[in-house]
């Protein structure tokens, strides 16, 4: 008879002995989120990809952006 194997919907947990791993956790995963990018449901799936919001490169060179902020101005 088929039985459902628990999926690690609660992420990783490195505390338990591996033969007593919490049924809803994983000892090893990467780039997985508990909501899918297709429908937004609570089920496991690959994380969304990172995309550029602006085409401009700050500083015009490969250097970290150290601060982002927002100014609110009256039109």
């Amino acid at each position: 008879m088929l039985e459902e194997l628990p999926l690690p919907i609660k992420g990783v947990n490195f505390s338990y002995p591996l033969d007593k791993q919490d049924a809803a956790t994983s000892p090893y995963m990467n780039n997985i989120r508990p909501f899918d990018t297709l429908e937004g449901r609570i089920r496991l799936g690959q994380r969304p990809g990172m995309d550029k919001m602006y085409s401009q490169q700050i500083g015009g060179t490969s250097s970290p952006i150290m601060w982002l902020d927002v100014i609110t101005i009256v039109d």
Partner: protein, 750 residues
């Protein structure tokens, strides 16, 4: 009616044009600004009873009307005056028509029920027409074709709203600002970041900095470099500030231009010395070069100086000082700070290495006033002056909560400032043994809970003011050791993503952008490891509630200078010219195949259920994924096999039990040997079955959606786990369910 008149020509009428039946008249016009035209006024009168008069707006082609009416309205022509020169009659054109600046349109008028005895006169100027945006136009065939009369302008006014659509409630804009590569960039137009050239090389992004948005400006604390990015004020300058100083809030008026501004800040107030004065101009007239500017300052004294150049429009970049650099009147601002935030209308500075436990608040509502301890409830206040007192620990982060309270995160403790320190506020210690690791190592969720990376892991403070609760120690007991945070090269950042209801806890290296991260889900309270390409290492972030919906998301300032966000439809990471595939995998918790003690079991069959329902259909379909089934005599060995990450290498001594990866699969060494590429023996693990065994007992690939066919392959062992993974470009995967049939088979062989 709170509407504005835009284009018009309403004087010098000395003649009139007749219209009825198929004879129509009109006037072309060209708006200088985009707006919503809502009604027109035409100077007209009647003869007889011409009936309904229709007025419409049409587009133009070749400077004459074309096409159908864009909007139209009517008036009862029988009620018009019969007296020349007529009356100004209003015709509403609701719901209006959106006009674009610089584009020519036409106001057309017709009385199709009229005849030679019942008609309309449309007043015009035929002797000296001077309207430059169009001319009178006419049609003899009910608007099918039109001609124009260049020497005539009809009497018209068009009125409307500054909005460009029927509903426009936008009264403000948000503009993103990014600081990196020793420069500051700002969103000059929606979706476009532009460099502020004055700021380039005037800010040190290699050293600690922070910024706070207030009063339509950005205040930046970067050690001894403290700057203002001013997005709103107009600047005028003078070679001589005059005898009486400007003060904040006074109005200055240009003697020639009649331009007016409300003064916000001046960088000098000394007589006979130069000064730049910044303020909000409240007139359309602009300040000109060489004019005398006058006003009355806050003390009632007359201010007067001559401009030495025409005004300069924002944005501006200048030193953040006290008003006029007048330390006698406005106090002394700390000469160095790396932390700044806004609280109760004050800007608060800290992070001054000489006084690391100190904080400094400007006067409420006045970022240019640091005169502490005056007899004023709004006075500037600092730790050494307040009844609330200093904080004895090194201040690392300032976390403001509306006007109610502020958390001061220190190296080894957490403190709570309640109320206003200058007016009955207090400072209380929340924890004397938990500190925060970095100025940006915190975030707040939508419910006001505070999360921060502290000295013992990741903490949560309910409502931002309860005792810190370690939320990571249960799942990530070795987090502090595993991450081994090095503040000389790395940044830890916490980012709340309200769109996806979770927090990204990131640590990125300034050397190469390499990173480790956790997604903390507020839905499941679980931690999910993530790794991004080095280009995408996160160093800054903000939820940008842009007034332009296309840019509204949680944004991340990345290692390569690009601003990114998580795009649900993106299956790869955008790293530049090409995209990087995302290597994603999950391992199910190890499960006993037998009784978990002494009896082995078999997996008889496995069934996978992929996301997407039937192929196509309403629900989006997953791409395929691979699986590996691992088996061993104990759970730890099973997981060890899954976690094998060491790539097989040539000329390496391997011993029994070594785990390697080769060709995307894991192998375990069963005979000690020295590896050799392409040799007759001891070659690569996929062909060398003498020395290597696959670590997986079963592998395969699942394609398509919904419930998949049974995988019937018997696998025997004590413990097992299943790894699901995908690292293929342009693919993502979603799993609904994994089913297995197990059977106990016998005693475990020792």
């Amino acid at each position: 009616m709170a509407l504005a008149r835009y284009q018009y020509y309403n004087t010098n009428d000395d003649n009139a044009g007749q219209l009825y039946g198929a004879t129509w008249l009109g006037q072309t016009f060209t708006p200088a600004t985009s707006h919503l035209l809502l009604y027109a006024k035409l100077k007209i009168y009647k003869v007889g009873n011409p009936g309904t008069v229709t007025v419409s707006i049409r587009a133009t082609s070749g400077s004459v009307p074309t096409g159908a009416d864009l909007a139209s309205g009517t008036t009862d022509g029988d009620t018009l005056t019969t007296s020349s020169p007529g009356e100004w009659r209003t015709i509403t054109l609701l719901p209006g028509v959106s006009l674009t600046a610089g584009t020519m349109y036409a106001i057309c008028i017709r009385a199709t029920g009229g005849d030679a005895s019942n008609y309309i006169w449309f007043r015009a100027d035929v002797s000296s027409p001077s309207y430059t945006g169009g001319t009178q136009v006419n049609s003899a065939n009910s608007g099918s074709t039109w001609g124009s009369t260049a020497t005539t302008d009809a009497m018209f006014e068009e009125w409307g709203s500054g909005a460009t659509s029927a509903i426009d409630e936008k009264t403000y804009s948000r503009r993103l600002v990014a600081i990196g590569a020793f420069s500051l960039w700002y969103e000059s137009a929606a979706g476009t970041m532009s460099e502020l050239s004055d700021a380039t090389l005037d800010i040190d992004t290699a050293t600690p900095l922070s910024a706070a948005s207030a009063y339509q400006k950005l205040f930046i604390a970067n050690g001894t470099t403290q700057k203002v990015f001013d997005y709103v004020n107009t600047k005028i300058n003078t070679a001589d500030a005059g005898v009486n100083p400007c003060t904040q809030g006074m109005t200055l008026t240009g003697g020639n231009s009649a331009a007016e501004m409300i003064v916000d800040y001046a960088d000098g107030v000394t007589d006979d010395a130069a000064a730049n004065v910044y303020g909000k101009r409240i007139t359309t007239a602009t300040f000109t070069n060489g004019e005398t500017v006058t006003g009355t300052n806050g003390s009632g004294d007359a201010v007067s100086f001559a401009t030495s150049a025409a005004e300069t429009a924002p944005p501006h970049w200048y030193d953040w000082t006290v008003f006029g650099n007048d330390t006698t009147t406005y106090g002394i601002k700390p000469s160095s700070a790396t932390i700044v935030t806004r609280y109760r209308g004050r800007l608060i500075l800290s992070g001054y290495s000489t006084y690391p436990h100190q904080w400094y608040m400007c006067k409420t509502g006045d970022p240019w006033n640091f005169l502490y301890g005056t007899n004023d409830p709004l006075t500037a206040v600092a730790g050494q002056d307040a009844m609330a007192g200093e904080i004895g620990d090194v201040v690392i982060a300032l976390i403001a909560y509306n006007d109610d309270y502020m958390i001061v995160g220190c190296a080894n403790s957490m403190h709570l400032i309640t109320g206003d320190p200058a007016y009955g506020g207090s400072i209380d210690e929340i924890s004397d043994n938990i500190g925060i690791v970095g100025a940006n190592a915190w975030c707040k969720d939508n419910d006001g809970n505070l999360y921060f990376f502290g000295t013992g892991g990741i903490y949560k403070m309910e409502g931002g003011r309860s005792r810190p609760l370690n939320i990571s120690v249960g799942a990530l007991p070795k987090l502090i050791n595993d991450w081994a945070y090095d503040p000389t090269d790395e940044r830890i950042l916490l980012t709340f993503d309200p769109v996806r209801n979770g927090i990204i806890i990131s640590k990125s290296s300034g050397t190469d952008g390499s990173n480790v991260n956790y997604w903390f889900s507020l839905r499941t309270s679980g931690f999910y490891p993530e790794v991004y390409p080095d280009e995408c290492g996160i160093f800054s972030s903000i939820y940008y509630d842009s007034t332009t919906s296309a840019n509204r998301d949680t944004l991340y300032g990345c290692n390569d200078g690009y601003i990114r966000y998580f795009l649900n439809t993106a299956k790869d990471d955008d790293v530049g010219v090409t995209d990087d595939a995302i290597s994603s995998y999950m391992t199910l918790p190890a499960f006993p195949m037998g009784d978990g003690f002494d009896v082995e079991g078999k997996i008889l069959q496995i069934v996978f259920e992929s996301g997407g329902g039937g192929s196509g259909g309403d629900f989006s379909d997953t791409d395929g994924f691979s699986y590996g089934v691992y088996v061993s005599d104990d759970a730890e060995t099973v997981v060890e096999k899954v976690k094998a990450t060491t790539a097989w290498a040539d000329a390496t001594n391997y011993v029994i039990g070594d785990l390697v990866t080769y060709g995307g699969l894991e192998y375990i060494c069963i005979v000690a040997h020295l590896s050799a590429t392409g040799a007759a023996t001891h070659e690569e693990p996929d062909t060398n079955t003498t020395d290597w065994n696959p670590a997986t007992s079963l592998t395969g690939t699942i394609s398509g959606t919904g419930r998949k066919s049974r995988i019937r392959q018997k696998i025997r062992g004590q413990y097992s786990t299943i790894k699901l993974y995908n690292s293929t470009a342009s693919e993502t995967f979603v799993v609904n369910k994994v089913l297995a049939e197990k059977q106990i088979v016998g005693r475990l062989k020792d």
